[in-house]
Amino acid sequence: MAQALNSALRDALRADPAVHVLGEDVGALGGVFRITDGLTAEFGADRCLDTPLAEAGILGTAIGMAMYGLRPVVEMQFDAFAYPALEQLFSHVAKMRNRTAGRLPLPITVRIPYGGGIGGVEHHSDASEAYYTSTPGLHVVTPATVADAYGLLRASIASDDPVVFLEPKRLYWGKAEFDPAAPVEPIGRAVLRRTGTSAVLITYGPSLPVCLEAAEAAKAEGWDLAVLDLRTLVPFDDETVCRVVRSLGRAVVVHEATGFGGTGAEIAARVTERCFHHLAAPVLRVTGFDIPYPPPMLEHHHLPGVDRILDAVARLQWEA
């Protein structure tokens, strides 16, 4: 996946001279995850800029660049490192189109490696998507496959609206063949990764492989689970989600971020409001606990695993 993201950046830089990459360590080092590897060598330091270490300054500078017609792609090194830039993101990036009645759209892509499972110490594993999804004006995109990593990043950079592009860092090393020329579903569309007849697991980003594994394991218990990959949290694909839920009548939402006030709460509420008469059981959530992200030796207790998902699936045999 890391290679696909690198290719997406390289191809976007080649395709459009307005595209500029900036962030801490994106130059000679190629980023701590090597997502920007070789870009400064190929395109020069003006197109792939090593900035001072200051996230608000990085994003604030990108805003001014976008106001002058460029398409900045910003790297925030780790999820929690983006927090100093949240004022710029919330007060300006998300709102500039609205503040100026459409005269100053900001085509900025903010790439944020997010989530746990790589043994990072504190402040390196947060899943912060709920902050971004509850901020109007931002698109929130999170790929789970190699092909989507390429396709959705190209689409995000091409978007005239700002995109928070959440990269599941524990999937960086996932390998799969992909064809850069192959079309992928656009931003805003969910994709069924596995069909099934019993219930659907609704998930995204780092939890997709876990859900696919759980669906495989559930076969032994007689459950044939569908797995739906949201791919984009904003805009949310109500249409596809509701179609699948209505046809199966049972759904579990799975993500590793904390549950209270989380994205899963929003999804469960939406599905319940729209599909109530089709439901055979309450929409359940399997999420991380409502705790600060734990130290790496304990993170496996926090992250939803196959067993916790299967427990939820068992509870779908609802009897009122």
Binding site: A56, R99, G188
Partner: protein, 380 residues
């Protein structure tokens, strides 16, 4: 006080390789000990008479604009107005120091700078009237939206200036800030980025003494706010902010330096906010009348009038002409703002995204239905 002067600093060979290359532009980093003044000095007579008369005219019109806008808040016609009364010299000089292709990044108190830039005086007040967030077209006037969060517009100025320079365009960005804004992290990050990128940007801090109620002594321990430039490796300049030709001169020099590749400058203008922070503030709780009275003596409009008369550049004709223009503007403001604005509630959904999300389409339909129902009740 002893302060390091970079002119006497010699790099230690071998220390931090790559970081010791001397900067090509040896402009002194520290400001002069006392602020630059032009009014009351022989320098004044070297200035272009047309520029001085233009500054006077804009000061008079700007003063009236501040008064009328303040009155409109008392009548409930503006939601809020942070007056720049007493700071008009900074505002008009800021706009006049820029070329048409340059960009202005104002804060919420800089409406007058925006107007002086050529934005329609009524459109400049749209935000403060409460009808919409930004009433003017930022691209048409190269003027960013009035910025309410403190100092967050400063990095935008840096980024825009950087992008313009990458494109080979001789564009300078001017960011306007207050003394309180210099305490914000974004101020620091903007100055640092500007210096590292050698961006053609100028920062003007209008030090008006108070961040709402907090005096400068509780805001910063630096000898002057202009001193803050030294740590970033950029020049700091201190100017009398109530001396319009002085502010114009210092800013013009900084803008030209930026335009010709000399990099950013931090200018501190010493001025005073003679009115309260906004109409919602009670300034008597944190400052006494004698202080305000002293600054009223050092009023930018009075100073300009006195000194231009002394050198024979101000005649009764210009006084009358400026006063008439000011009254005409005030009359236009009253006429426009005493009428109720036409507002379209559906505009709330128009500019959230380039294309509304499915969720916003649903909500727009909901509001549309609510409006139709209301209309049905009012006009059955």
């Amino acid at each position: 006080m002893t302060v390091l002067d970079h002119r006497h600093h010699t790099a230690v060979p071998g220390w931090l390789p790559g970081a010791t290359a001397p900067r090509s532009d040896p402009a002194p980093l520290l400001p002069d000990a006392s602020p630059v003044r032009v009014l009351g000095t022989p320098e004044l007579e070297k200035y272009d008479p047309a520029l001085l008369r233009e500054l006077y005219r804009r000061l008079v019109v700007g003063r009236r604009y501040n008064q009328q806008a303040t009155t409109l808040t008392k009548q409930g016609r503006l939601a809020v107005y942070p007056a720049s009364t007493g700071q008009e010299a900074c505002q008009v000089a800021a706009a006049l120091a820029l070329g048409e292709q340059d960009w202005l990044f104002p804060s919420y108190r800089d409406t007058l700078a925006v107007v002086s830039r050529g934005v329609d005086p009524l459109e400049a007040l749209t935000l403060l009237r409460g009808n919409a967030h930004t009433g003017y077209d930022p691209l048409a006037t190269r003027t960013a939206p009035l910025c309410t969060p403190l100092a967050t517009q400063a990095p935008h100025a840096v980024g825009l200036a950087h992008a313009a320079r990458l494109g080979g365009d001789p564009v300078v960005a001017l960011a306007l800030l207050g003394d309180g804004g210099t305490s914000e992290g974004d101020f620091h990050e903007a100055l640092n980025f500007a210096a590292v990128l050698n961006a053609p940007v100028v920062f003007l801090v209008q030090n008006n003494g108070y961040a709402i109620s907090v005096p400068l002594t509780a805001q910063s321990a630096a000898p002057t706010l202009a001193h803050k430039a030294v740590g970033y490796g950029i020049p700091g300049r201190l100017v009398d902010g109530n001396d319009a030709p002085a502010v114009h001169s210092v800013l013009t020099e900084a803008v030209e330096r930026a335009r010709t590749g000399g990099g950013p400058t931090l200018v501190e203008a010493l001025t005073y906010r003679v009115e309260a922070h906004t109409n919602a503030d009670d300034a008597t709780r944190y400052r006494d009348d004698t202080e305000v009275a002293a600054w009223r003596e050092h009023d930018p409009v009075l100073l300009m009038e006195r000194h231009l008369r002394r050198i024979g550049l101000l005649d009764d004709a210009l006084v009358q002409e400026s006063a008439e223009e000011a009254e005409a503007l005030a009359a236009r403001m009253r006429a426009e703002f005493h009428a109720d604005a036409e507002l379209d509630p559906m505009a709330l959904f128009a500019h959230v995204y380039a294309e509304p999300t499915p969720q916003l389409r649903e909500q727009a339909a909901q509001l549309s239905a609510e409006l139709a129902a209301e209309a049905e009740v009012q006009h059955p």
